[in-house]
């Protein structure tokens, strides 16, 4: 068939007339990166930006864990502790999670749909630099938070910054202003990038790629970007209201003047809960690519996977007040949010079962990306089940705001998202750099991180059950919390060792890694049909596809997918 033949040609050399010889002086190279509108470079910059802040947030977390390792510790001052957990949370969500998922989306979406770039390359660069500016604003608060009059301080209001703690009366100086502005500016960047990715997927798929043949990684990112458009808006509105409160004396959240504290909660969580899915759906997307390839089987139940994700996205917009079961809603209101929250477990369960179905009957290869993915499925199961516990409102009245919740959402953000980010890096690093990451170091990284993760976050559930609230800078001895907290801190040290292994692996593999070739994993989607790293224009000739796995069709001409789909 015609398209197949064309794809075959693509894996060969690129016509030399199209190759641009880069100027190699360092300044020229830096300049090229700074002014680039190439989705691959911007994607990589997003990922580097995210990984950099991942290390920063990790250091903040390590300081928090040291402070809590023993009771009545004086390692940190109360205020610095409060700043650290605020910055850790804000950083992980806005400066680690968002850039990383947008990085992967940026890099992968055009490649898997056979396009040469995103629909609006310049808007893409604009979105990226806005995000960077937002991050810098937030971190500038460390030196500029109290303006000229003080040594400066970071915000200490918690990452969901409940009113009226953020009001002028309770948050003096400018640290909260930097927090608000940083998120506001970064949010515009997210909206720009989401619009861009949606347009690209809807309008720039290669010939033959109907929506039912769209690879799951693109489908899930499309859904995620739709969620970004819907949910960043209330966040932006809330931040503008907060700025008005702080600068021109309006009273949206100013309870001393009749404002409403719960108004902020509603605005924040109608963003905040879908945000969890904005971050985790791209993790699902990576799993939906990695698990089939390393199981050597097509994804089980493609239409149901898409449908379940859409269901999750829709339902996740109606569950926000499960973060607010303790604010004294009516019993009817509480019941509504119990039902909507529990409903989400159905599509989430479907996804777990479908990944299991993909592995079932396969021939599993345990390369590092697959190890991270299997652990991810296990963690997704546990966090789903603790999520059901938290969804049962009366149980939530005990667990909410305790360390149980902290353990639960770290299962989501680390156990699911960070694990899949690692899987994604191991999986696509050869595509982006032309070299494989070292698998031996990768396995060290995986096992250390897995052990550290479970030491820290499994034990963390228990102090919550024993009455330990979150966000306390110290605690008394004799409440049954000390041994558990100490174990959590030990686990954090193990995780730190794992991350160092990872960083080391990246650094040495960039120089000495094994050459990858175009298709090191024997995979099936279009990004593996072009060279590693891909040329600036991705494909010399736009490919034509007939199934969800175009490279499978090429590799198995007698038994192609399109016969069955």
């Amino acid at each position: 068939m015609n398209g197949t033949a064309k794809l075959n040609e693509l894996s060969g050399a690129v016509p030399s007339s199209l190759v641009v010889v880069p100027n190699n002086s360092v300044l020229e190279q830096i300049h090229a990166w700074l002014v680039t509108v190439d989705h691959k470079k911007l994607g990589l910059m997003y990922i580097i930006y995210g990984l950099f802040f991942f290390v920063v947030a990790g250091i903040e977390a390590a300081l928090i864990r040291i402070q809590l390792a023993v009771p009545n510790n004086h390692f940190l001052t109360p205020q610095f502790f409060n700043q650290l957990f605020t910055m850790h949370g804000t950083t992980m969500v806005f400066l680690v999670g968002m850039p990383l998922i947008f990085g992967f989306a940026n890099y992968l979406v055009p490649l898997v749909i056979g396009a040469r770039d995103l629909a609006f390359p310049r808007l893409n660069a604009f979105g990226f630099w806005l995000s960077v500016f937002g991050g810098l604003l937030l971190y500038f608060s460390f030196i500029g938070g109290e303006g000229m009059s003080g040594a400066g301080s970071a915000p200490d209001v918690g990452w969901f910054a409940y009113a009226p703690l953020t009001g002028k009366a309770f948050s003096k100086g400018h640290s909260t202003d930097y927090w608000t502005l940083g998120i506001l500016v970064g949010g515009f960047g997210s909206i720009a990038t989401a619009t861009n990715i949606i347009t690209t997927i809807l309008c720039m798929r290669c010939p033959g790629m109907t929506m039912t043949k769209l690879p799951l990684v693109a489908w899930l990112n499309l859904i995620m970007c739709g969620q970004v458009l819907v949910t960043i808006s209330p966040l932006t509105a809330a931040q503008i209201m907060l700025l008005l409160d702080r600068f021109v004396g309006s009273h949206f959240f100013d309870t001393q003047a009749g404002g409403s504290a719960t108004l902020w909660m509603h605005f924040f969580w109608i963003f905040g809960h879908p945000e969890v899915y904005i971050l985790v759906i791209p993790a699902f997307a990576i799993a939906s690519e990695v698990i089939p390839v390393f199981s050597r089987k097509a994804i089980f139940g493609y239409p149901v996977m898409v449908g379940a994700t859409i269901a999750i996205a829709f339902v996740s917009m109606s569950v926000w007040a499960h973060h607010m079961f303790t604010i004294g809603m009516t019993s009817t209101g509480n019941t509504f949010f119990v039902v909507s929250t529990m409903l989400i477990s159905i599509p989430t369960g479907i996804k777990i079962f479908n990944w299991l179905g993909t592995m079932w009957g396969g021939k599993l290869r345990f390369d590092t990306p697959m190890l991270f993915s299997i652990a991810f499925v296990f963690h997704l199961l546990i966090m789903g089940l603790t999520g059901v516990m938290l969804a049962a409102a009366p149980f939530n009245w005990q667990l909410n705001d305790s360390y149980f919740v902290v353990a639960h959402f770290h299962y989501v953000l680390v156990g699911a998202i960070v694990f899949m980010i690692f899987a994604g890096v191991y999986y696509w690093f050869p595509k982006a750099t032309g070299r494989l990451l070292n698998d031996r170091l990768g396995k060290w990284h995986f096992w250390l991180f897995l052990i550290g993760f479970h030491l820290t976050f499994d034990t963390m559930h228990l102090p919550g059950v024993l009455g330990m609230p979150r966000r306390i800078y110290t605690y008394e001895a004799g409440r049954g919390w000390e041994t558990l907290n100490f174990i959590s801190t030990v686990g954090a040290a193990v995780q730190a060792a794992a991350v160092l292994t990872f960083v080391w692996n990246i650094l040495i593999s960039l120089r000495q890694g094994r050459r990858a070739g175009a298709d090191p994993w024997d995979a099936w989607t279009l990004e593996w049909s072009t060279s590693s790293p891909p040329p600036e224009y991705n494909f010399a000739e736009i490919p034509t596809v007939r199934s969800r796995r175009p490279l499978w069709d090429i590799k198995h001409p007698t038994d192609p997918d399109w016969k069955y789909e």
Binding site: P78, F395, N400, V465, P469
Partner: protein, 360 residues
């Protein structure tokens, strides 16, 4: 009244297994392992475990929790088994022939099954949960209930008994409910500044104290004793030291406590100089001592300061030495605390402490 729902059956079944036995087993699992908690120093009655409830709403929550744990535990075992089986059984063998496995694109019946079964589980869980929500949240206040107003402050608890005319702080005294004499305590929750949350795990779930809003909750302790809790919602610098103590007393002890608290301060003429220091200093702008000119409302009522076991919302035990150190430098115990250091001379400080020590 709540109509019976399917969840009742499950709850009932769990109750029949032994309301106390199951609870005790879990309590033992989680509590009796003293080694886990840090040696013999741990007084288990002071571990604020949600698995050791001593009050009606906390019991209801634990029943629901056990039910949810049983179901989720079952799902966990099942899915983990499947996952481990898949990983072991379908790993690529050393002697692999290199042929790709059979490609299976999905299965309608199988996928329907793992949609419908979880759906049914959700129905059962949601109905059970709704029933417990109703049971706790819509409970009527009986005639004999004690009414208390709790006002959250940065970083202490104001505790008022409007019908008894008592104002206390940080240490809530309530009567026990025993046998036929049910004396639950109904709490009205308010905040003077930011959002706080009232949480004493062994007595009930938590409820937030939100400015411009009146919330309510209730407890019905069934055992005499001291129950620890603390503010659960991050409320600023000293959130960690906004501790809460609930003393559950026999009706007689509680009535005796009420009698004592109703009195105005009996000041000892021997400490008149100390009282003068107190009344001349800014103390009176923030604190109340009934029967004196002190009528400030920013800080805790001190009329019966010495009847309390702790100072500064549980930050330290109440002793003259601690009291003196606290007044001298509040920031050393609770950095960021809103009480300023008064920079009193040592002699004045001694007299002031001597006076405050008479406020029984």
């Amino acid at each position: 009244m709540a109509r019976p729902v399917p969840g009742d059956l499950f709850l009932g079944a769990i109750s029949r297994v032994g309301k106390t036995r199951l609870t005790t087993k879990i309590a033992i699992l989680l509590l009796a392992r003293q080694t886990v908690y840090g040696g013999d120093k741990v007084d288990l009655t002071l571990v604020p475990s949600i698995f050791a409830p001593e009050s009606v709403p906390a019991h209801s929550i634990l029943h629901l929790a056990n039910f949810v744990l049983a179901i989720t535990g079952g799902i966990f075992v099942l899915v983990t088994t499947l996952l481990v089986y898949a990983v072991v059984r379908f790993r690529r063998r050393a002697n692999d022939d290199g042929i790709e496995p059979a490609q299976i694109y999905g299965s309608g019946p199988v996928e329907s099954a793992w949609t419908i079964v979880p759906g049914l589980i959700v129905v059962v869980l949601a109905l059970t949960t709704a029933r417990v929500i109703h049971e706790i949240q819509d409970a009527r206040q009986p005639a004999g209930a004690v009414e208390v107003q709790v006002v959250g402050h940065q970083w202490w608890w104001e505790i008022r008994y409007p019908k008894l005319g008592i104002v206390a702080a940080n240490e809530l005294h309530v009567p026990v409910s025993r046998g036929d004499v049910r004396r639950p305590t109904f709490l009205e929750l308010l905040s003077a500044d930011v959002v706080h949350s009232f949480w004493v795990p062994r007595l009930a779930g938590k409820t937030d104290l939100i400015p411009n809003r009146t919330n309510s909750m209730w407890i019905e302790p069934e055992r005499v004793g001291l129950f620890l809790g603390q503010c659960a919602k991050y409320c600023g610098t000293q959130h960690a030291k906004m501790l809460l103590r609930v003393y559950v007393e026999t009706p007689e002890d509680f009535d005796r406590w009420v009698k004592a608290q109703e009195k105005t301060a009996e000041s000892d003429p021997a400490e008149a100089t100390g009282r003068l220091v107190f009344e001349k200093t800014a103390c009176i702008n923030c604190h109340v001592v009934k029967g004196t000119v002190a009528n400030g409302r920013f800080g805790p009522d001190l009329t019966h300061l010495m009847s309390r076991d702790t100072l500064a919302a549980g930050a330290m035990t109440n002793s003259p030495q601690n009291l003196r150190a606290w007044i001298k430098a509040p920031d050393q115990f609770k950095p960021g605390a809103l009480m300023p250091a008064m920079n009193l001379k040592d002699a004045d400080l001694d007299q002031l402490v001597a006076y405050l020590s008479t406020l029984k």
